[in-house]
């Protein structure tokens, strides 16, 4: 993933919007936070990347299919933020696929 460690202080909403915009090749302003995220036309590969990245950064497991559905980005961000305190992405048996070598 292209997000840098220095981005980590950023609120979840901001970096997630940046990441979605980067993965879809659109401007950040074009990423709506209050409409169903499925409207963006995210494909399953991009959804999987987002899901893995959210888990790596916040410890929240938001399955890829939820990036394809009727929830808003604001709702997903709220869930990721909620999981953040005490989350330990490095825990568990093995890294998530796509987490890099």
């Amino acid at each position: 993933m292209t997000t840098k460690p220095s981005d980590r202080a950023e609120p979840t909403g901001a970096w997630l919007v940046s990441l979605i915009a980067e993965l879809l090749g659109i401007d950040k302003e074009q990423v709506p936070t209050d409409r169903p995220i499925g409207e963006l036309g995210i494909d399953s590969l991009t959804a999987a990347q987002l899901s893995v990245e959210v888990e790596e950064r916040t410890g929240a497991n938001i399955p890829l299919q939820r990036f394809l559905g009727g929830e808003t980005l604001a709702e997903l961000v709220a869930e990721a933020e909620h999981a953040k305190p005490g989350a330990s992405p490095a825990a568990g048996r093995g890294k998530a696929p796509g987490a890099g070598e």
Binding site: G25, G94, K95
Partner: protein
């Protein structure tokens, strides 16, 4: 076995024994010639089992005795899988004899890869023990209503005290009836998960095996399924992290999709051998059929297709060893290109065999019709052609939106066919979701074409490939994220350019070390023509190259060598008596 591959006179023979193909060369000799009907893994026995829709039990026994199954278990887990290039060569050896054997072991491989990659110590130890003990494994991924759409998976793993209860039906899965263990994809919390199921431990509780499905080819293979009804698994059954089942499957497929090309290549070798021998022995219009230009042209073009497939396949298998991060793209490209090219080669052989291609007896004991039916599955399973084009499309669309980077991987390493490499244990190089936007094979095509300077004809073919590459690259910058016919066509063209680039890199990086056929311009000339034709450009034939390639084929066959740029020494070839009825001059 001091000379498992043919080396050029300039290259010393000694290092050959230490190539990645050593295990395959050894297996060749142990398994014996498939044309000898008395052999356990003979074409004749394979045809008989196929006629009866029966498992080729003698072939399985021979494969196990030769230790074929040990090559599915990584060295780090106590097996003999030292590199994926080496495994590829082993798969080719098995597949030139009996695809039912290699596909059965391939299904086991798919069931094990996730365990090697993400399994804990106990899971890896158990699965290694089972596979080394000759157990079959099954990958419980596919369902009746969920084929390529994994998100439609209905099988469910419900967390209960101390484990999981599994419910669902897995269908159209290899080894579904006979497997001792399964890797099962199931919906669970927080999302899809992957579960290791030990059928013996369940003691039959909650498991029902489904009947073998009747198929066009691979009739001896156990393609079937199983249902799970409150099958109880322990807490240690989950593989990897919770909720990452879909991502893990996509990673596992990078390995199996790459290796499937080995099955296609092995089967195509035998088809080509049957056709060549028939053409040599067949008298037509007062001479040998091989003396006829059109027959030579068919054989040469079929051989060229096989060689394009081989260059693509060898590079992909080595990439599993040395460039695993590229495999989200390259495994899909190889799976799209290699099986289909081999099917095309087999089809050309059918034209040479003519009426004999239709018979279930005679030449090679009627093996050709079986090969046609068996190989037909290779472009279909583990991702159909459309699924693979979609993977290539989504990888390239995703990469086009982001900055790529300069090439990092040395082509001399990627194309150093046969040179042993220190492969990563599976868990030390877990597969990624995206390839990262750097594709040395296609990005370095310019250098490979430039190296053809002085050869105007081949340079022109190379320039056509460069133009297609640039057009395709540009097209992907404008595609939307959803599936369009235009994006699929661009993905197809990308795959073909990749295949041709593999030929050019092989020519540039490895021909001198390989020697023999690899140094003969004729193969490259025909290989490039075969790809450029498929891209829709008119191509003038190179009859001289066709003749040379047919000459090479006969030399390789006479010398008991694989039809390959890396011509493995085959088991001494059993040759049918010329007086047998099937070789008489009959209509």
């Amino acid at each position: 076995m001091t000379d498992p591959i043919a080396l050029s006179p300039a290259a010393p023979a000694a290092p050959a024994a230490r190539t990645s193909f050593e295990a395959a060369a050894e297996l060749e000799q142990i398994l014996g010639c498939p044309f000898d009907p008395d052999n356990a893994m003979s074409l004749a026995r394979g045809v008989r089992a196929d006629d009866l829709e029966a498992e080729p039990t003698a072939a399985y026994e021979a494969a196990w005795s030769a230790g074929l199954h040990e090559h599915l278990v990584p060295v780090s887990e106590g097996g003999r899988l030292a590199s994926f290039e080496s495994l590829l060569a082993v798969v080719r050896v098995a597949s030139r004899r009996e695809l039912v054997v290699s596909v059965g072991l391939g299904s086991t491989m798919l069931a094990t890869v996730g365990v090697w990659l993400w399994g804990d110590d106990a899971q890896r130890r158990r699965v290694a023990e089972l596979v080394l003990g000759r157990a079959w494994g099954t990958a419980g991924i596919s369902e009746d209503a969920a084929g390529s759409d994994l998100l439609a998976t209905a099988t469910r793993a419900t967390p209960v005290d101390g484990g999981y209860l599994l419910n669902g039906k897995k269908w159209l899965v290899g080894n579904g009836r006979r497997s001792r263990f399964a890797t099962v994809l199931a919906a669970s919390e927080p999302s899809f998960g992957l579960f290791l199921l030990d059928f013996d431990a369940l003691g039959g509780q909650g498991v029902e095996r489904l009947p073998k499905v009747r198929t066009h080819g691979l009739r001896g293979h156990d393609l079937s399924g199983f249902t799970l009804e409150n099958a109880r698994l322990g807490a240690g059954a989950m593989i990897g992290r919770p909720g990452r089942g879909i991502e893990m499957i996509s990673g596992m497929l990078q390995f199996t999709r790459t290796l499937i090309g080995g099955s296609s290549l092995g089967a195509a070798d035998t088809a080509l051998r049957l056709a060549l021998r028939h053409a040599r022995g067949r008298k037509l219009y007062g001479g040998s059929a091989l003396a006829l230009g059109p027959v030579r042209s068919l054989l040469a073009r079929g051989f060229a297709d096989l060689l394009v497939a081989e260059c693509t396949e060898l590079a992909a298998a080595r990439a599993l060893d040395v460039a695993r991060e590229r495999m989200p793209l390259w495994s899909a490209v190889a799976k799209y290109v290699v099986p289909q090219l081999c099917v095309d080669a087999v089809t050309a052989c059918g034209e040479v065999l003519s009426a004999r291609a239709y018979l279930r007896e005679g030449i090679g004991d009627g093996a050709y019709q079986k090969i046609v039916r068996d190989i037909a599955i290779t472009p279909v399973f583990e991702g159909t052609q459309l699924v693979l084009l979609d993977t290539v499309r989504s990888q390239l669309t995703s990469a086009a939106r982001r900055r790529g980077g300069p090439p990092k991987l040395a082509l001399s390493l990627l194309f150093g066919f046969g040179e042993p490499v220190a492969t990563l244990a599976p868990r030390e190089g877990r597969p990624g979701l995206v390839y990262g936007g750097v594709d040395e094979v296609v990005q370095l095509l310019d250098e490979a074409v430039a190296a053809l300077h002085g050869d105007a004809e081949l340079t022109a073919l190379g320039r056509t490939l460069l133009a297609v590459r640039d057009e395709t690259r540009e097209a992907f910058r404008g595609f939307p994220t959803h599936r369009t016919p235009e994006a699929y066509e661009a993905a197809r063209r990308h795959c073909l350019v990749h295949a041709a680039a593999c030929c050019l890199h092989t020519w540039r990086e490895r021909r001198d070390a390989l020697g023999g056929l690899a140094t003969d311009r004729a193969w490259l000339s025909l290989a490039l023509r075969r790809v450029v034709e498929r891209l829709g450009f008119p191509v003038t034939p190179d009859r001289e190259a066709e003749d040379r390639l047919v000459h090479r084929l006969t030399e390789l066959d006479d010398d008991d060598r694989a039809f390959s740029l890396v011509p493995l020494r085959l088991a001494p070839q059993h040759r049918e008596s010329r007086t047998r009825p099937d070789l008489r001059s009959t209509p």
